[in-house]
């Protein structure tokens, strides 16, 4: 049995300690991951345990580092779109948006309204897909295996809508600087509305299954509290931050791609524990569904591509563009040298900053709480490691 120190303890020593009223204990270092069912990918956590209590938690990342920021320096802007959607693979199309926006800002291209509405519709549908996926996995980690199947059933219709338009179910490659690759096919609107309305209809049932459950509440209320200032200091954003009494949302604060034309609320919860983060996640699904409905019902006609030169070449300059990825604030800092390839592209991913707050939140929690907290932090490894 491996232990932290190779100290051989004599039986008489143990007896002496016990007779004095002390229990001789040792801390154990438990390696959670990189292969573990609860860690959403190759994430390793070096947990120092004292019985069932986590004294210290040290995340080790980088098992999936693919060197995106170096790879994009050798690629055309057209090639980067597909590369970038493989970061946060659960919200495929949201990853492509900041890149397109950054190029449009530097090249001063105007995106036609139809393209903007389509972009909003697809991004929000992807948000629903992402949130339903985390709904499924959070339940499964806590032992409730049923919500997984219900959530995946709901995702199917929306994914069919995405597939009929873009050809992909997970990685889309659909946004181009200036607009979209092609227009929506026949039947897209009906399919998208059907999927989205089904989600709205069935969501209260799923809510009751988990949120109304006494055991679930015991496992998540007051567990893993992230205070507001700590969240700011680490740069935590997205539904995780909004569960800590923060109500910022890039779509409301600095609207992009026509988000200011839509009517939706920013959900936020006061306590900052696992329950609140999960609650925010579920309620954001309803908001996204509302946006999709508004976008599709109000879709203007017109071109789907702005005036883009043949060769996509950004003029010299630097810009930072940020969007609201389902998991938080996704930003791209693009330094362009006037070439067809970026000079330097810094990708600011939400999960990276969110996960850096884990050592703080995981201090002095139980092993089972660690699982609940890891589940409630909604991270995707591709996003952390890039």
């Amino acid at each position: 049995m491996a232990t932290t120190e190779d100290r051989v303890v004599d039986a008489s020593e143990v007896a002496a300690e016990v007779s004095r009223g002390n229990l001789l204990t040792e801390e154990m270092v438990l390696n959670v991951g990189p292969q573990h069912p609860a860690t959403h990918g190759v994430f390793r956590l070096l947990a120092t345990l004292d019985g069932e209590v986590l004294v210290k938690a040290d995340p080790v990342i980088g098992y999936m580092h693919r060197g995106y920021e170096k790879l994009v320096e050798a690629r055309d802007y057209r090639q980067i779109t597909n590369l970038v959607s493989r970061m946060d693979w659960l919200s495929g199309i949201n990853n492509e948006l900041p890149l397109a926006l950054a190029l449009e800002t530097l090249m001063e291209i105007e995106v036609p309204p139809r393209a903007q509405y389509m972009r909003v519709a697809m991004c929000e549908m992807n948000r629903i897909l992402n949130h339903l996926m985390f709904f499924a996995s959070f339940g499964a980690e806590l032992g409730a295996i049923t919500p997984t199947f219900y959530a995946f059933r709901e995702r199917e219709d929306i994914q069919m809508a995405m597939e009929m338009t873009t050809g992909g179910r997970m990685h889309f490659g659909f946004f181009r600087p200036g607009g979209l690759k092609e227009d929506a096919p026949k039947g897209f609107y009906q399919q998208a509305l059907k999927g989205v309305r089904q989600v709205i209809e069935r969501l209260p049932d799923y809510e009751n299954l988990l949120i109304g459950n006494e055991i679930f509440k015991q496992r998540t209320v007051n567990v893993g509290i992230l205070p507001r200032d700590v969240a700011y200091s680490y740069g935590v954003s997205g539904p995780i931050a909004r569960g800590s009494d923060i109500s910022f949302d890039v779509r409301k604060d600095e609207p992009y791609s026509g988000y200011d034309l839509f009517d939706f609320d920013v959900q936020s919860a006061p306590n900052g524990d696992c329950f609140d983060r999960f609650w925010v996640l579920l309620h954001e699904v309803v908001e996204s569904a509302k946006i999709v409905e508004q976008a599709i019902e109000g879709m203007p006609d017109g071109p789907i591509m702005g005036k883009v030169p043949r060769v996509v070449q950004a003029p010299k300059g630097e810009v930072y563009v940020r969007t609201e990825n389902p998991l938080g604030e996704l930003g791209m800092y693009l330094v362009s040298d006037g070439d067809r390839r970026p000079y330097r592209l810094k990708i600011r991913t939400p999960s990276y900053s969110n996960v850096s707050a884990l050592p703080y939140v995981l201090k002095n929690t139980y092993v089972s709480d660690m699982i609940a907290i890891l589940g409630s932090f909604f991270f995707v490894l591709g996003d952390i490691d890039r």
Binding site: H36, P37, G139, T146, R219, V367, S368, D369
Partner: protein, 333 residues
């Protein structure tokens, strides 16, 4: 037909042979039922192909598959204890079946101390789980084994206390006697107390079998399979699958015997006596098993310390109070 006269020892051997066939069969059927019930509760179909019709041979196919798996023992593991642990878990469960009466005379041995024997023997498998976890040389297995030991000890008490209350109501410790004393099943009469006792027993049973919501020791998403993480092939089947399914069917049978009236019909109405006792027993046991299976996909997992609090601060005081009420009932009613 020439008369076959067998000595008592030969009869005993035949009965034990029957049990050794019945237990795996029960485990197989229980496993298949679990797949199907869970699937339908989750809006899907479950296994459909093995065996042709709705996948009836799933668990059989699983068993055969496991026969072919490589038997791996970790290098740092304690070989003797590691190999003995599945036996230490499985044997007490099989021994429990020896006293469960499936009909008036269909019981291996009608012990006078039936209940006592049953509860004592079933708690021996705790040691088996501890052996499995400790000898695996794996920290996850260790955590699972320690959680398991704490949980099984804590939840023995509600089962024992509610069984004691039933013994008081029946006036005997023998299982046959308890069934005979149930003109109306104990869950219905004494009203209220019987139902409460049944609920306490069921909760304790679910925890004894380390099933959701009390499956912390085997919490799949946290510590993979807890004490059985390092077990492969047939050892895994014996220590985990067989044990859990066998346990479930056994507790179903015990619950039926103690509370639902065993092999007797639900109400003492003449025409119902025509249906053989085995059928009644089977139907009631299947109902109990369905209850256990229903609970699994519905609830998340209770955390270890909350689990312990629930046992020591709620279930045990409640069962003690119920014993008081049962005693009062027996004396004055």
């Amino acid at each position: 037909m020439p008369e076959i006269i067998l000595t008592t020892w030969q009869i005993l051997l035949v009965k034990v042979a029957v049990i050794l066939v019945v237990v795996p069969m029960g485990a197989l059927v229980g496993g298949y039922a679990e797949h199907k019930v869970m699937a339908h509760l989750q809006h899907r179909l479950g296994p459909m192909y093995p065996g042709g019709f709705h996948g009836w041979a799933t668990t059989l196919a699983d068993g055969i598959k496991f026969l072919f798996k490589e038997d791996i023992i970790p290098a740092a593991a304690d070989r003797k204890v590691f190999s003995l642990a599945p036996a230490a878990i499985m044997v007490p469960i099989i021994m429990v079946y020896l006293v469960i009466p499936m009909d008036r005379t269909l019981v291996v041995e009608d012990l006078d101390v039936g209940i006592f024997y049953l509860l004592a023997i079933s708690s021996v498998s705790t040691i088996g789980i501890l052996m499995a976890g400790w000898s695996s040389a794996n920290k996850y297995a260790l955590i699972g084994a320690l959680r398991s030991a704490a949980q099984l000890i804590a939840y023995e008490l509600p089962i024992v206390l509610s069984a004691a209350a039933v013994a008081m109501l029946a006036g005997t410790l023998s299982l046959n006697g308890i069934v005979e004393a149930q003109n109306f099943p104990f869950v219905l009469w004494p009203p209220g107390i019987g139902l409460a006792l049944f609920l306490v027993f069921t909760t304790g049973a679910v925890a004894e079998m380390t099933r959701v919501p009390f499956d912390m020791p085997v919490a799949e998403s946290e510590i993979i399979t807890g004490p059985f993480t390092e077990y492969t092939g047939m050892r895994y089947i014996f220590s985990h699958m067989f044990a859990e399914m066998g346990h479930m069917v056994a507790f179903g049978g015990i619950g039926t015997t103690l509370f639902l009236g065993g092999y007797r019909p639900i109400i003492p109405w003449e025409p119902l006596e025509l249906i053989p006792g085995v059928v009644w027993f089977a139907a009631k046991t299947m109902l109990m098993i369905f209850l256990f299976l229903w609970i699994r996909p519905t609830f998340p997992r209770v955390r270890e310390d909350q689990l312990q609090k629930f046992a020591w601060k709620f279930l045990i005081p409640v069962s003690l109070a119920l014993i008081l009420f049962t005693g009062a009932w027996v004396l004055y009613v």
